[in-house]
Each structure stands twice: as C-alpha cells, then as structure tokens.
Amino acid sequence: MNEQAERGAAGETGGRAKPELLIGAGSMDEIAAYIDAGADAVSFGEQRFGMRLPGDIPEDRIGDAIRLAHAKGAKAYVVCNGILHNEVLPALPGYLQTVAEAGADAVVFGDPAVLIAMRQTGVKLPLHWNAEMTSTNYVTANYWISKGATRVFLARELNLDEVIEIKRHVRAEVQVQVHGMTNIYHSKRTLLTNYWQHQGRALDGERLDAGRKLYLVEEERREEKYPVYEDANGTHVMSADDICMLESLHELMEVGIDSFRIEGLLKKVEYNVAVLRSYRQAIDAYAADPDGYSFDESWLEPIRRLQDPGRELSFGFFYKEQVY
C-alpha cells in the first residue's frame, strides 16, 4: 500500500518515487522467479481472454497465482486484452468475479466488452487500458480513463516526446514497454496452418505455437528475423528487434512514468531474470540519488551475454520520426 501511495505521488512531484517494474508470467514458477528477480508486479491470464501471454494460468489456479504474487509482495494484474468474439462473452463476468474475489490488483483490457461485463458483475476493479498499437494520444487515453481506466499502456510505436507529452496530460498512471519484442501484426486468420495446407503438408502433430520458434525473413531484409506463431487468437508476428531502454531509463523516470513493462515473450526465464535484475538496479540507483544518477554500462552486460545474436537491442520507436 505504501508503494502504491508513493507511485501515486510520482505523477505530481515529477518522478521521485520509484516506477513499478512489471513483467508477464506464464506459470507459477515464473511468477515466483520474476518477483525474486525484482519485479514489483506480474501480469498473467489465459488465452480465452488475454493475448500473447507466455503461458496460460487457468481459471481454477488464478486465485493461487494472485495470492502467490501478493505473498511475495508484488501486485497481480489479470490480462484480458483480447479482441473478444461473442463465444467468450458468457464466461467473462464469472471470470472477472473470480479474479476480483481473489484480490487481483487490476484487469488489463482492450475490448470495451470488458467494461460491459464489469458493469454486469457489479465488480469494481482497477482497469488498465491496453489497445496495443492504437493507444496513441492523450485525449484518447483520458477518454478511457473517464470510462474507468486507472492506467494506460501506451503504444510501442510512439517516440519519447509523444510519451512525455501524454504523461503530462493524462489523469492516471502511464505504463510504457521498456524491454523486449513488440507485436507488429495480429490476424484472426491461421496463416501458418494455411501455409502448411497450401503446400499439401499434413498438420498432425505439427507445432505452430510460440514454442516452435518459427520466424519470417523478408526478401529485402535479410538481417532481420520476425518471430511468428499461431494460437487460439490467430497469428502473431513479432518485431525483429528487442527494445532496450535501460540506458535511457532515467529520461522516463525523470518525467514520472509509472510503470515499466518488460515483455518476456519468447525469451527464456534466465534471460528475463537477468533483464529484471538489471532494470531493478537502474531503478533503485536512480531513486536513491536522482541528481547523482548515471547509467552503469555493466548493468547491460548480463543482458548482452544472453541476447540472441540474431536480434538487435534497439530503442524501438523512442527516437524515431515516422511519416504518413
């Protein structure tokens, strides 16, 4: 609770309290390991309602997962950010009730059906708005805040100036992805299955999920590999590079960004633990002495050692200009 008050103050005082370090977890073991490595919060859920999770925590175990996170002093957010089709709507109110009763600290949503379902259940839970690449300006962020969102998770395609401007204008918490891959394409179509069938290949026993480690290379871009996988939500193509804002984290801390999200998808637990440890060091160092803070190159070393040589560590879109 104290941490929450501290973070709440951050927006007003301009960043002296610590930002939250948040990562997605796909199992009870990951929840434990990530919190031990320094995560202040973990997010998890299941494919029915959430998208691009590192693993499913089924409904009958989600209470345990929430309690585990809490026992270790971390927050637990339940991810329901899918584009929801009619068939899952009947189960949604009951699911929200379950996670509310188990003490979830927030529900992450993108589809407005979640707001309707919340109203139906009468359950009151903080809501985090995540509409992926469409979460792009502060007026829209404030709109969803007026609908009940307590936090907005910004699009990964914004530059730093845009992020700062949004933070300045928004009446709730702002979350930014600081490390890992991003989703760059999401289709309802089963494009990998289609491709196999086009070749006349049998699909029995063929894995097309994230564990298979499939990737695409574009004709003109031979240095880049784009992970691709299929699941209940369709086909997902991920970025060729991993965002790594560690060096520039102080810029985000200076303006009081409330939550730093690590995207741990398609990475080994060992890698994510190293990432969490490094970001933890940076956050703690800055909080202890913001004016005297300087980035320590050695924090990057453990990440570099484990980084896939075929994937670049980049600043994502933070320092880019886009045209249209």
């Binding site: 584009i83 589809d111 690449m133 469409t134 394409y185 179509r189 004709e219 240095e223 075929g310 249209y324």
Partner: protein
C-alpha cells in the same frame, strides 16, 4: 469462384432466422455504400447506383495516397450526390497522435457546414470532438476499431455512435448474434480488398518503412514475400553462406542468424488475403438485417467503381423486385471478374478462411479489360454516340458498353470521326472526343471497355 460447402451456407442462413433488430423497414433496401477516391470517382459511384459514398479529406484519413478532397471538392460532391438523393461520408479514421489533435475541431465543423452526412471514425479523441463540436454529423465507428462482439457494439451505442462498421472477421452467425442483442445500424463490407490482419492491429509498414500504417502510411507489406525458418534460439547453428529458401531463390542471411528454412524449394510464405466478393450471397446479406453494404476501393479505378457498384445495384434491385424468384445473373459475376485484380472469396462470412482464401503465388491477376471511353452524348436520330477517349481504340475493334440499369452489349467499332465529322484512324489522345455509331442506345456516363492482352 470456389464455393464453400452447401451445408455450411445453409447452416449460416438457418441461424439468421431468429428475430433480429434492423433499422430497415419492410421492403426497404440496405444502403449500397461505395468508395469515392476522387471527385470523379464519386460521381460515377453515385451515378451507377450507390446510395452513399465515402471519401477522404486532406487530413485524418487513411489512404494518404488517394486524391483526397479539398473542402471545395466536398461541396461539389455533396451537391452532386444530393441530385441523386445520395449521401456523402468522410473517413476520419486514423488513430491520432498528439500532434493531430489540434486541428480536429475545425476540420469537423467544416464537414458539418458542408453537409457531409457522417464521419467514419475509430479514435475516441475524434469521436468525442465530433459530439461536442459538430453534433449534426452522424458518427459511424470504423472497422479500424475491430468490433466483433455484441457487447462492444452495445458499448459504442451507449456512447452515441449512430452506426458500427464491423470488423471483417465476423461470420454471419456472429452478425446475427450482434443483431439479436443491439438495436443499432450495422455496416459490413461486401466487396473489395481486405487487410489480412485485424484492422488497426498491424504496424508492419511502421517497422519496414517508418511509415505509420494507422495514419495512412500503409504500404501493404502483408502482400510481400517472406521465408519461414525454424529455430530462433541459440540451439541452432548460424546458417553459413547461401541457403535455398523457396522455389525462386537462395539467400544469404544476416550474421548470427540461426535456423533452418522450412520449405526450401516451395512457394514463399505470404500474408495476403484474397479480395472479398459477396455477390453470390445477396439473399443471405439482405436477410442478415445489416443496414449498409460497403464496397472497398478508394484507391481503385473508375472502371472498378462503376462496374462493381453497377453489379451490386442490379443484384439488390432484382432481389427486392422478386425475393422468392431471385437468381444471381451470371453476367453480374462476369462483370465483377472484369474489374477484379485479385482472386475473390467470401472472407469470414461462412467461417474462418482457409488456405484457398489466401494468395501464395503471384497474386495480382491481370485485368483483361481496360476502360477505353466515356459516353458524353448520344443522338437518337442518327444512333451516333460521342465518346471521350480514356484509352486507345480504333475502327474494327471489339468493345463493350455498360451502364446503370442493365446496359451491357458488345459491338465492333465502325467508322470513327472527330466532332466535326472528319474520319479518324484511331482515338489516340486522352479525353479526345470521337463519334461512331452504336448498335444500341447509350446514355451520358455509360462506359466503354476494350479487351486487352492477346485480343487488344
């Protein structure tokens, strides 16, 4: 065109027979909504039978490469459409960045003053500004919001949205479920190109070319060729040298990239979807209760717009003239093929698209017909038409005329003259006006096409 199994179609139609909300009164036709990529295209769309046309302005719309309308052009468009009793909508469907916010209010007020009937919009920032600053504009929620379920539709209805354009990922069953629960106008696509992703959920262009797909910069990267590899981690050895990746080439990968190509020697992986075409399913579309049928294609040609609008207009009219006796006329389908540059399919309407609904080889098929001339005048006494040249043609050439209301006939061009009566050996110059006898009466704005390729 490949047909889905009869059983699936029958099943889909059966589920539609529950009571549905619809704003259409008995006997009232759904709106046929056509793309107006330019002022000229808008005029053809309206003339060929569209009940409404959607256009883009100079700001806030996707398709930044279309001939987007100035306010003056919008005024002319509204005036023209009014003569036919048709409406004009403006697509203001970007996901705005902070820098786009400032001009929205003025822009929308202008649209309202001009007499635009509705904006097609995805971003709540633009929706809210519209409600506040331009309340006379109807708000149509864009397919960019990827609305697929009835509770989301309910949410937007409560927000004061007048109409929801559903995501293309909705089946007939899902549409029926939506229409069973929510009393609001629904618009669905009926024809044209489709994003293979959920609309709005693709930033391939941003990554490949730094062009923002959700603000008009989409460069259709989903239609490029890709190669599929296995092995994104350190357990795979880096690939040395050249590797055969598909049937067409080998490739040298970037340094440090490990893995094995999955289908060397085969077709590359593609994410390209075939174009939607529902003309063979007009009864199902009409029985769904959907209030507006949308044709995609602001970037497509006048020939496409006129041909496609004409075909759907005739089909819809024929259905309402005699629902029980309705039959698809083969010539409507043939007309569609003459304007199709991609293979066609029924999208998600009957269920998830399979591999046959995607393009894996060279996707674009050459259209075998070119727009060759526009009828500007017809003299009944002499049977002579004055045609404005839009492509080369000459005496002896076989051409085809088509126009609203079912005009469709072929003929060979006889003697060709200029407007003064001087004989010509060919119509060479764009917009040149020429005269020749036609076998049947034609009307201004009827169109003439010629076959291309081997039979040019």
């Amino acid at each position: 065109m490949a047909k889905t199994t009869v059983t699936r179609q029958q099943a889909a139609v059966r589920t539609v027979e529950r009571p549905l909300y619809t704003k259409l009164k008995p006997g009232q036709k759904p709106e046929l909504l056509a793309p107006g990529g330019s002022l000229e295209k808008l005029k053809f769309a309206v003339h060929y039978g569209a009940d409404a046309v959607y256009i883009g302005g100079q700001k806030y719309g996707l398709r930044s490469n279309a001939d987007n309308f100035t306010f003056d052009e919008m005024r002319e468009a509204v005036e023209f459409a009014n003569r036919y009793g048709a409406k004009v909508f403006v697509a203001a469907n970007i996901y705005a960045h902070n820098e786009d916010i400032a001009g929205i209010e003025d822009y929308l007020r202008n649209l309202q003053d001009i007499g635009i009937a509705a904006i097609i919009v995805a971003d709540p920032a633009i929706i809210e500004t519209c409600k506040r600053a331009a309340p006379k504009l109807e708000i149509h929620l864009s397919t960019q919001q990827s609305t697929v379920n009835w509770q989301a539709v309910q949410f937007w209805k409560e927000e004061g949205v007048h109409r929801v354009v559903l995501a293309r990922e909705t089946t007939f069953e899902e549409i029926a479920e939506i229409k069973r629960h929510v009393d609001i106008e629904i618009e669905t696509f009926i024809h044209g190109a489709m994003c293979s992703s959920y609309s709005g959920r693709c930033v391939l262009s941003n990554h490949f070319t730094d062009r923002d797909s959700n603000r008009g910069g989409c460069c259709q990267s989903c239609r490029w060729k890709y190669d599929l590899f296995e092995g994104g981690g350190d357990e795979f050895e880096p690939i040395p040298g050249e590797v055969e990746v598909n049937a067409h080439r080998t490739m040298r990968l970037g340094e440090g990239m490990g893995g094995v190509p999955l289908f060397p020697g085969e077709d590359p992986f593609m994410m390209s979807a075939k174009d939607l075409c529902m003309i063979e399913h007009i009864p199902e579309m009409i029985r769904s209760g959907v209030e507006s049928f949308k044709i995609e294609g602001r970037m497509k040609s006048i020939h496409y717009v006129a041909t496609v609008v004409n075909a759907y207009r005739q089909a819809i009219d024929a259905y309402f003239a005699d629902p029980d006796g309705y039959e698809l006329k083969e010539e409507w389908l043939q007309e569609i093929y003459k304007a199709a540059n991609r293979p066609l399919n029924t999208g998600f309407f009957f269920g998830p698209p399979g591999h046959k609904d995607h393009i894996f080889g060279p996707g674009d098929k050459r259209i075998d017909y070119d727009f060759a001339g526009l009828v500007v005048d017809y003299d009944e006494a002499s049977g002579v038409t004055t045609v404005e040249q839009r492509n080369h043609f000459k005496p002896g050439q076989e051409v085809e005329f088509f126009g609203p209301g079912g005009t469709l006939f072929k003929q060979k061009i006889g003697e060709l003259t200029d407007e003064e009566g001087h004989p010509l050996d060919a119509a060479r110059h764009p917009l040149q006006r020429v005269r020749f006898k036609v076998d049947r009466p034609v009307k201004p704005m009827d169109m003439m096409r010629k076959r291309t390729g081997k039979k040019a």
